[in-house]
């Protein structure tokens, strides 16, 4: 009965969406009550990927210690860069420091991967490594916002919210955008905020420090009422709420609240099931390993296969990859995520989901190829590395390059805006047409920038 209620709402929305399919750019500013804003929508062009999982290495992993091998750092270890044109923008270090980790070639493509990612390295032929990333500011807050919301300033909608706005959700009983973070990252909930988009597009934060399916989303279980009685109560409440809303048209938070009440009711049916990891076989659980990140990865697969549009997994609360004092500390962080990431790629591949699931790995920026103090590295925004896998990107390739010391992106430079434009393109959306009118002008995820990196498409 409950699942029928959910799909009934979905199909209600479908008819209205089909009637204006292709008019995405002219999406209405306020969503009329009774119309489901999460109904699946038509794309601008055929999509290569249907869902995204963002493995967010918050804190900023060092590119030259992970996926951007620079032999010249060994040769010039402890010296100033011989070419004077390139300087890191933070003044903390001036002498180059070689990576404390060994690199080796992996896969048929011969990708150079650091020894701290032994399991991910086995998936080298599935990775599309973008070595030429750059962003604007070498500080966490603006760069985290840039990576998640496409602007250094706060109060912009996150990428997941934009995707829900543009594409809708395929499962009406679960939130369409789920964020796993044990605790709170720097900046906090603004990183998955809907901002000026309707509130229903906000990311649902799951604190994965303890993942008991009964308590992971609080108040899911109603001990005192049968479902039918709950439904009756909620229907009455909804009527009252809509009368209330009718007097206050365009009240965004109020709309969001009404819609999230509805979703909370539908979720108690499916959420307990999706968060119950005991339903996975032991071999699958072993594949992902123990730990918060591994469990979040496995849950993500369960969410994605049920039609969730985007999942974002933070390495941890705070800024775990922020190793100013000692670059070798990266090894411990990599150990937390290496096996789960490889397991996720393997699992997506064997279930056939990798074909239309886009995986993004990376931090908000890189770290300086020069030393900070004796053996640490500072923030670095002129050149860093992310990788993509699955959903319409070529595996086993590197795209772009930094200079020979890994200081600045020089070849096929790819700004975070370009990455966003490319990812939206893979999802079937034209980043210039996915707009929302607010405060008197049209906003985009990519602001007024963004070039689609077509060279990485299959």
């Amino acid at each position: 009965m409950l699942s029928r209620a959910g799909t009934g709402l979905g199909t209600l929305g479908l008819a209205s969406v089909l009637s204006d399919a292709g008019l995405l750019a002219a999406a209405p500013a306020a969503i009329a009550p009774g119309r489901n804003p999460l109904a699946p929508k038509s794309t601008h062009f055929p999509a290569r990927a249907k869902r995204i999982i963002h493995l967010f290495m918050n804190g900023g992993p060092s590119h030259v210690d992970t996926f951007d091998y620079k032999p010249s750092l060994e040769k010039y270890n402890g010296q100033k860069p011989p070419t004077s044109a390139t300087k890191t923008e933070r003044v903390t270090g001036s002498t180059l420091m070689m990576s404390p980790f060994k690199f080796a070639r992996h896969g048929r493509c011969g990708l150079n991967v650091s020894e701290i990612f032994p399991n991910v390295a086995k998936c080298a032929d599935d990775l599309c490594v973008i070595n030429s990333m750059h962003t604007n500011i070498p500080n966490h807050e603006p760069s985290l916002l840039m990576m998640t919301c496409g602007d250094n300033q706060p109060i912009r909608p996150s990428m997941g919210s934009w995707l829900l706005y543009g594409l809708g959700a395929e499962n009406q009983n679960l939130p369409g955008f789920v964020v796993f973070c044990p605790g709170k990252p720097v900046v906090g909930p603004q990183l998955w905020a809907n901002s000026f988009l309707p509130g229903i597009f906000q990311g649902a934060h799951i604190n994965n420090s303890s993942l008991d399916p009964k308590s992971v989303i609080p108040h899911l279980h109603n001990g005192s009422l049968t479902r039918a009685a709950q439904r009756e109560q909620l229907d009455l409440l909804k009527q009252l709420n809509e009368m209330h809303l009718a007097q206050r048209s365009g009240d965004n938070p109020l709309e969001a609240r009404i819609q999230s009440l509805e979703m909370a009711f539908r979720m108690q049916f499916e959420a307990q099931d999706v968060f119950d990891l005991s339903k996975e076989t032991q071999s699958t659980r072993d594949l992902y390993g123990k730990g918060q990140f591994g469990e979040a990865c496995l849950l993500s697969r369960r969410l994605l296969e049920r039609g969730v549009r985007m999942v974002q997994i933070f390495t941890g609360g705070g800024q775990p990859w922020d190793d100013h004092g000692d670059a070798t500390a990266h090894a411990a962080k990599a150990k937390l995520v290496d096996q789960p990431i490889a397991a996720l790629l393997t699992d997506l591949k064997r279930t056939g989901m990798l074909d239309d699931t886009l995986v993004l790995w990376g931090g908000e920026f890189g770290r300086t190829p020069t030393a900070q103090g004796a053996k640490g590295r500072d923030h670095h925004s002129q050149g860093f590395t992310v990788w993509l896998a699955g959903g319409g990107v070529k595996g086993g390739m590197t795209y772009g390059a930094t200079d020979e010391f890994g200081i600045a992106a020089v070849e096929k430079r790819t700004h975070v805006h370009d990455l966003h434009a490319t990812m939206l393109h893979l999802m079937g959306l034209d980043h210039e047409k996915l707009t929302y009118r607010y405060g008197g002008r049209d906003f985009r995820l990519t602001d007024v920038h963004g070039k689609v990196a077509k060279g990485i498409f299959t």
Partner: protein, 498 residues
Amino acid sequence: MDHLGAFLGHFHPVLVHLPIGILLLLGALELAGLLSRARAFAWLPALTGGQRTLILALGACSSIIVAALGWLLAHGGDYDSALVHRHQLLGICAACACLAALAVHRWGSLYALALASSLALVVMAGHAGGKITHGSDYLTSRMPPALARVLGIAPPPEARKAAVGFERAVVFADAVGPILRDRCASCHGPAKGNGGLRLDSWELLSKGGKHGPVIKPGDLAASPLVLRIDLPSDAKEHMPPRGKPQLSDDELTVLEWWVGAGAPRDGAVAGLDLPPIVAGILEERLGGEATPPPDRAATLAQAARVAGELGIIVRPLSPVGPWIEVNARPAGRAFGDRELGLLAPVAPAIRWLDLGGTSVTDDGLAALAAMHGLERLHLDQTRIADPGLVRLSSLRQMEYLNLRGTAVTDAGMGALRALPRLRSLYLWQTAVTPAASRALGEALVDKRRIARWKSEQAELGRRIGAERFEGNTGESLNLDTKPAEAAAAGPASPPKVN
């Protein structure tokens, strides 16, 4: 001498436009001079005697030179002799008329007659030359049918290609002949017949050229026709010659299959045991029983109704075009054979279909036969088994098939060989053995094309230089390269001049 002759002869098509231009300009100037006698056109210039002599002399000289070059070209090339003869005759007459005009240009009426006839002859000779190079129907082949009817010209014989469709196509006439006609017959056809070879009919092809037969039915290695097309595009012997339109990979695959199969002429394509790759290409080229694409508005209206009824997701794949994606997964086990049958009104428009986790059965998959356009199909975690796979064999466009967690076995893999475009197949949690899936892969892969692609990649790699080709890892940059070394390597071995 022959070489020099051939070399000079090839300047004919370039220089031939010189006398044509000079004579037409002279005609225009003389006309202007005539008109300028009338008061209304007094502003027009008239030629002086000296100018006329100079222009005529230039025209006459160039036409004699061009005629001589033309003779050299005809001598060395394999052209249709009747066409060449006519062109030669007209060309020589035009040159003579031009000389005559020069001789008599001081006698008004005689000169007018000579100039008019040389102009007429130049136009006729030019047209005859055009026929040799571009084919006899070069002016009319693209003429709109309406205009052709008015002028009483028979419309060009339409290739049968579009009309027949895969089911009724005949091997040479419809599958192979059009490829040779498009790509080869401009030089090896009625107009030219280079190397004494014509490829515009099965009989002429089997006769071969002046160097012997071009195919040995059933033996690719002894068939210069396919061997020479297969050569790297910059090889001297490669056909078609550089700069001419080349055969696509698909066309070459068809040609290779045809020669390998014994170069048959008659018989229906559909009746032969085609490898899946060739079947796929030919179906695409020849087209099926022409089914018009479904109508977008009607499809979407139907889709909305069906989706509402069944609790499933139906979404257009793009803002234009009728193609849709149907996702029955949200309905789960409640979606079965009866529900699948209800998709019939929108079946031809379905490109992506997700039946994962539903309760469809082998028999129910009979409904998929109407979904000719299906490209992606999820059947994972259903009760589908081997008999169901047989029902997929008519889905020629299928590229992605997910059978994870079903009851299919090795025995069912044979049926999938009928899917020429299949690229991704998921078999995790089934009883299918790696050997069986590998065998299926081998059957579906065009090995010759991969070998060709690999050799091209290797060649490309060699030319670009290995270090750049493997991607920029930073290793190629070496700051220590001493400029002295490079300088020493330079002048030490001056290029030899032969």
